[in-house]
Subunit: 665 residues, 2 copies
């Protein structure tokens, strides 16, 4: 199996310049890097060749509508590492590559300068320089060749000293650069980049069950009820409103309250038991309204600056029309029955799963599922929360998401995969814009810092966007079951300041926490019944949530999980971190959000901490201006060593904006 | 530029199982991983799929003579990481890949076991199991299908309990495994692996100038003189004998002693000024002997267990026949002259460089250079030290080395590139088996530990083999110029115990160090004149070198740079490290070489240190047996905290072999 012989001519045609270790890149270009519109993408690479000649490099990049590459220069840092940046101005699939070449005239100028300074006779060198310029001119298009040829014509008759002056002239350098034939030009393999709209990385989600929105426990809520709630949700500062499935609910094995198997005739069942004789994934549960009602809701939400997110849950109730119409999309048991879904120890007797590789599943089922998403996208829904994607094949998601984004580049998919880390990361690689995370179960200082450090400084930073939900209809976190109101404020502060994406399921704002005893689930779960709440009840945290969402909107540093830095606060219960305002790479920091959160909902705490003056290039006795964004007051702090006080019964966190003294805010 | 639409059927044919982060691999398979014959290659990967089915995986690998893949099993570690290993038994280009598949019968057995244990009725499950076995049988070759079909025939008539017993039987599992149709089998892209002979990683080099071997300053040495030296070199424990260029030396601009430009008529010139009217790179300098003499030397060396390494230096003396015969292989100046070589501030007035992209250079020059190497390889030389490869194009080396290795898979190339790290690493990636390093200039504890840690634990560990030369004809290290004999012992101990590859240029064993004043060069450098030495002069370190080389041969731990671990010795001048005997991955350590080297040649030192009992799974008060390999005595040590004493005037280092008490040595 030795490689076949290669002839020398072919070998000599291979790249002379090495371009290695290009960043960012995901699995060597197998998957796209992710970014959002308007953010600079910083590209680095090791670029070098044999010998000591001057090299140049630039980034080539293009978006979906570009006929040709755009170009940005790269500069050498140190140790053969180069850097440049470009800023996408549209969404969709982009790509980028690096082109490097040998700058022969630049090399000549460098060497001529050295020799002149060393007092060496350079008569012959000036001949060589003029010859090089002639070569440039002869290879370049006329308009670029002319200025170079002019230099040659003007300079050749001169004496050596005048020739040197002309050859080292900046205008000559500029003309030569423009006409550079780019000796040994080498291009790296293009890498894919997915540019998404801002809400892929910065959004505040509010989740509710439309059927609970009537305000009357005896009446099934409808889309028109939700329209009445929109101003309140928007006033709290949310911008995505997300519903569990809105489709007809099956009757076979319907669940009763608290996941019981003996529902009464009035019980609504779980909306995740999708499909009945009234239709499947592209139908609407009749009690919620009509498709026209839904469209009206989408429009009304948009007017309020909100967008609707739907749930894409592939499972079917045993009554779903597909079971009869497309038996080859399911896996049947030898006795003609079908297994219900399980996620041990959870049992879902009211749903069955499709078989993606069943006898008639390819292409029928795959296309039908894609068409469901396209149907809702064409009805104005561009954001989909996907239920349990980790139990469906990766190739399906990669294909389906690409197909949807071809028609709807603004589509956003959120992966609800609470599973092993590599599976969660793979789902992000194959197309999910966002993912649920372990945040909901991270309560200790070291584990929060470690998790955020992994997400923001290792490989996932380039493709995985964490969505920090403080609760979900499925998850009533143990911490909140006993923490009281301070615990809700703690979790809200963490979610809103650690990630650009956060979400809450309604009830959180009124500190709802009654559990199914011993379980991390809600008592009288809204999954199985209608729940009516009093939003104005005492102790609600609507004001604090509103303030946090406003701080997020006003401070770009909080619009991404990226950029977080953990600092020293000498108390194991106080998580303390900063996020500098995003700026050009390497630019001096002008302001920074600084957050202290006590993780202890019970006791006041006082602790020494280090004010990160060094991040502002200030000495240890420097001064910064501080604006307390929750309370609205301002003050200054001088010196690195400080003390913080937190009272969970008042407010278990601080959010400050630090500004370098004298700098513009 | 959005991707073209893909149809669902094509998407469904894509791999369902993810195989990610395969290690080892160099630049995602662009370059081969390197190893040596007989060493186990441990392969790891992240392997996972959607859902919770049982997966299996194996390594596929093949050498140059294998018609098909060989296979080794992989086992799951934790967190979806899998590991396996294979051991190449021949040299040459190999490749390896990973195949993973869904084990449907294994999944069935797992689930059946769980359900039976939970007391669930599994009658229907046994039907499903038998059906699965039938599917296995129908897809398998007859001899594998029969045992499976037999189980089905035998079991179908039984009651449920007997069916369960049969389905969970180990024999059934084995039959099913052999006939497994490997659902969703996925194969990773093959990765290249270069397997080399042991001397690519473990060898002790001795460098001399044959012309200095006459024993008489008035007589030019010859190959037959070298034959007389062979027993002495072999007795010291060396196994590679390396000569600077042996070709005719040019007369134009010949250098005189100490690099002067005014040689006398008797001056020999530098052997790096290759080529005269007597011939070029494939000729022998007449005073050294004939080609037959050279062949006799190669044979004699082989009889002594030594192999000859030659220098491949591409530059030409202005008298090289190529300048007249092939002017298109060189770069001429506008006045018809040629630039001599420079490596600022060094000037090489006696040589000129070829132009690899000159008008006639491709393919003529490239093939001529390859043919030079092939010529010497056909005359029994399989190891080439290449002069300054970093000033010649990477594509040339990648092509040339591959071409030579196709005919001579046992060829070894050593890169003499003292340049920027990424360039040195690239040369290793494109084919060099070994490389000179910065070792020669690393004298401090922290920098030695940091450099070795980079070489043995980061990316270069898979492709870069460091060759630790203590001196060269070009480098008379500042440290040795003032250290006296203890310094020579220090550098010899470091080189012989830190790397599998070490080398010395003669004179080192007699502690030669007189410098050209203020420079890191030798006075009266042998590069420009004949030097006769007295090998028996007092203070020589021949005995110590001999002992160190013997310890290397007897201890596999010292036959590679890999595996070094730095331990705590609380003295900034004592470098302290261990190398466990190589063993199967994860096996308990039975013995370890432990080395203490004081870096201070002047003063005695006493310092506390930590005995690495934890590496033997021993408690902090455990006991190990110690054999002092330099002195030959043995003792035991008990307890983690110990004290070491080093006297540079006696011996500035210790080399111990530690053995777990009670374990076989």
């Amino acid at each position: 199996m030795p490689d076949a012989s290669v002839d020398a001519a072919e070998a000599a045609g291979r790249p002379r310049i090495a371009i290695e270790a290009v960043t960012p890149s995901v699995d060597a270009g197998r998957f796209p890097v992710k970014t959002i519109i308007g953010r600079a993408v910083t590209v680095e690479a090791d670029i070098f060749a044999d010998g000591h000649e001057v090299l140049r490099a630039e980034i080539l990049w293009r978006g979906p509508d570009d006929a040709d590459w755009r170009r940005e220069p790269m500069a050498e840092l140190v140790n053969d590492r180069w850097r440049g940046a470009f800023t996408p101005t549209g969404i969709g699939p982009h790509s980028y590559a690096i082109e490097a070449w040998r700058d022969d005239f630049g090399t000549f100028r460098r060497d001529l300068t050295k020799k002149r300074e060393a007092g060496i006779d350079v008569a012959l060198e000036t001949d060589e320089g003029l010859q090089l310029l002639e070569d440039h001119a002869s290879a370049a298009p006329a308009e670029l060749a002319r200025p170079v040829a002019d230099v040659v014509l003007r300079t050749r008759p001169s004496d050596v000293s005048a020739r040197v002056t002309a050859l080292l002239d900046h205008a000559t350098a500029a003309a030569a650069k423009a006409a550079d034939p780019r000796a040994h030009a080498t291009r790296s393999a293009p890498l894919p980049l997915e540019v998404e709209r801002i809400r892929a990385e910065f959004a505040s989600w509010y989740e509710l069950f439309p059927r609970s929105e009537s305000g009357d426990p005896a009446r099934h809520g409808a889309f028109r009820d939700v329209i009445r709630r929109l101003p309140m949700i928007r006033d709290m500062g949310f911008d995505v409103l997300y519903f569990p499935p809105i489709h007809p609910i099956g009757k076979t094995n319907r669940k009763g309250p608290n996941n019981t198997l003996t529902p009464g005739p009035q019980d609504t069942g779980s909306p995740y038991a999708i499909g009945s004789e009234e239709g499947g994934h592209d139908a609407i549960h009749p009690e919620l309204g009509t498709l026209e009602d839904f469209q009206a809701l989408v429009r009304a939400a948009k007017e309020h600056g909100l967008e609707i997110a739907l749930d894409f849950a592939i499972q079917c109730s045993p009554d779903h029309p597909w079971l009869k119409e497309q038996p080859g999309w399911f896996k049947w048991r030898p006795d003609g029955s079908m297994k219900y879904a399980e996620n041990p120890p959870k049992k879902y007797q009211d749903i069955v799963n499709v078989d993606f590789y069943g006898p008639d599943a390819v292409p029928g089922l795959w296309e039908a599922l894609r068409d469901v998403v396209l149907f809702w996208a064409e009805n104005g829904v561009k954001t989909f929360r996907v239920d349990n994607p980790h139990t469906k094949p990766f190739p399906f998601w990669e294909w389906m998401i690409a197909e949807v984004k071809r028609k709807h580049p603004d589509a956003i998919f959120l992966s609800e995969a609470f599973t092993r880390p590599k599976v969660m990361y793979r789902l992000a690689k194959i197309g999910y814009s966002q993912s649920y995370t372990y945040f909901t179960w991270r309560n200790h200082k070291h584990e929060l810092a470690a998790y955020l450090t992994e997400l923001t400084t290792t490989a996932p930073k380039d493709f995985f966007r964490p969505h920090f939900f403080v609760n979900t209809p499925d998850i009533n976190p143990f911490f909140l079951q006993t923490s009281g109101r301070p615990g809700f404020l703690i979790r809200a502060a963490l979610a809103t300041t650690l990630s650009g994406l956060w979400g809450m399921y309604n009830g959180f704002e009124v500190c709802e926490s009654a559990p199914l005893p011993g379980k991390e689930e809600y008592l009288d779960s809204e999954k199985y019944q209608i729940r009516i709440r009093n939003w104005n009840q005492p102790g609600n945290i609507i004001q604090e949530i509103t303030r946090l969402n406003r701080i997020r909107r006003e401070n770009p540093a909080l619009q991404s999980h990226l950029g977080v830095e953990f600092f020293n606060c000498f108390d194991d219960q106080i998580l303390y971190y900063g996020k500098p305002r995003p700026s050009a790479d390497g630019a001096e920091i002008q302001d920074m959000i600084l957050v202290f959160v006590t993780l202890d909902p019970n006791y006041e705490r006082t602790a020494p901490y280090e004010l990160p003056l060094w991040r502002f290039d200030l000495p240890d006795d420097g001064t910064v201006a501080v604006e307390d964004l929750m309370r609205g007051n301002s003050f200054t702090l001088t010196g690195k060593n400080q003390t913080i006080y937190l009272n969970p019964n008042e407010l278990p966190f601080h959010v400050w904006r630090l500004t370098k003294q004298g700098a513009a805010i």
